[in-house]
Symmetry: C2
Subunit: 232 residues, 2 copies
């Protein structure tokens, strides 16, 4: 196994362990000596991976994705840049900041001439369409990622308000509105909630008893239209 492959493996092993792992454990799992492991960690850190080591504890990888070297065509990079710019315009401030950061990260590693081409890229997106949400969509995304229950007050189309406790598992981005897709404990069914009609958001620490992927699958099955793939 080449060194570069081993480095990617190391990232994966670190990903699997959420708690701190000692260098010795990692080394034996990869079949190398501790000394080499320290060198590998240093190399990864030099490449931008956020691995933290603390004496007496072990190593932790901050949550994230490590992409190996990758080749994109002109059109593919245009698509990614355009998409990220669109996301950057969305009302979800955390996500839009992340989109900006991601583009900056890509630009940072590019040679000058390519960076210019990226900056001068000629696909533009219009200003964000809709009104600003009253709630923090970042909290919703966090609840989805961590499979936590969400409580809030919902005002439906007729104006009637109701208290809800839901298991959120997806977030839809439409032209004007953001929609939280969830299993509603109150109604015992899948429900969609327009973000602009949600108030008094309460992000709990209570894990809901299902896997988010499973909920997503079931929800899709309830839709009339046949669905081709993820994200449709």
């Amino acid at each position: 196994m080449s060194r570069s492959e081993r480095l990617l493996d190391l990232i994966q092993i670190l990903r699997r362990h959420r708690r701190p792992v000692s260098g010795r454990t990692l080394a034996s799992e990869m079949g190398v000596s501790i000394r080499t492991l320290y060198r590998d960690i240093a190399t990864l850190q030099g490449q931008g991976a956020s691995i933290e080591g603390e004496a007496g504890l072990g190593y932790v990888l901050k949550p994230g994705f490590m992409l190996p070297p990758l080749m994109f065509t002109d059109e593919e990079i245009e698509a990614i840049v355009l998409g990220s710019r669109w996301v950057a315009k969305q009302p979800d401030s955390r996500l839009s900041a992340a989109a900006t950061d991601a583009l900056a990260k890509i630009a940072a590693v590019l040679p000058d001439d390519l960076r210019e081409e990226l900056d001068a890229s000629t696909l533009l997106v219009g200003p964000a369409a809709g009104a600003v949400e009253g709630i923090d969509l970042g909290l919703v995304r966090q609840a989805i990622r961590n499979e936590r229950k969400l409580g809030f007050l919902y005002r439906d189309a007729g104006g009637a308000a109701s208290e809800r406790v839901v298991w959120p598992f997806a977030l839809g981005f439409f032209d004007k509105v953001r929609v939280v897709v969830a299993w509603c404990e109150t109604r015992q069914d899948f429900r969609h909630f327009r973000a602009d009609r949600i108030s008094g958001l309460n992000a709990t620490d209570i894990r809901y008893p299902r896997r988010r992927q499973a909920l997503l699958r079931e929800w899709r099955a309830t839709l009339d239209v046949p669905r081709r793939g993820p994200g449709d």
Copy 2:
């Protein structure tokens, strides 16, 4: 210089030469032997770079971007995936295919558990908003990239039609419409053209006499609102 750095350098050198370059030239430019160069090329090809060699001619790199290993946070990758999904829904079929391909490329190099996470990613985009354009936006993007003149018939808001020859330099994606931003030869000024009002598109081979970046800068300067950065 480490081997991996040298490989990135090789990509850059290949990028600079648009015409085929012989292996010997490349080798001397990098200060290595021809044998090593062949080995490097083989390694790059193994990593997915589309380098083509032909006996009697030399090597050419198909236009594209090579990204070095890169680390993204969870939110950054969510932003990129969401953005690409949005692009994939746009009416521009070439670009939307490119977005799909880019996601597939990323998914292909990810370990299984991460690929699942990506597939089950819970940020969804609604169906494409507007009507289908009658023209091939791919041709417009190509004309922009290559700085070529574009001819077409334009029907303005009042219904009046006119023949135009323009220097296109940007393409705007708005809620419902795509807008071509260009210097209009006919009117001798910057003009915006809604894609759905363009017909009889004629992509010429005639290069226009200005740089697209410069046009973009001048156009931005003519706008009232102060602009913060690229893509705004």
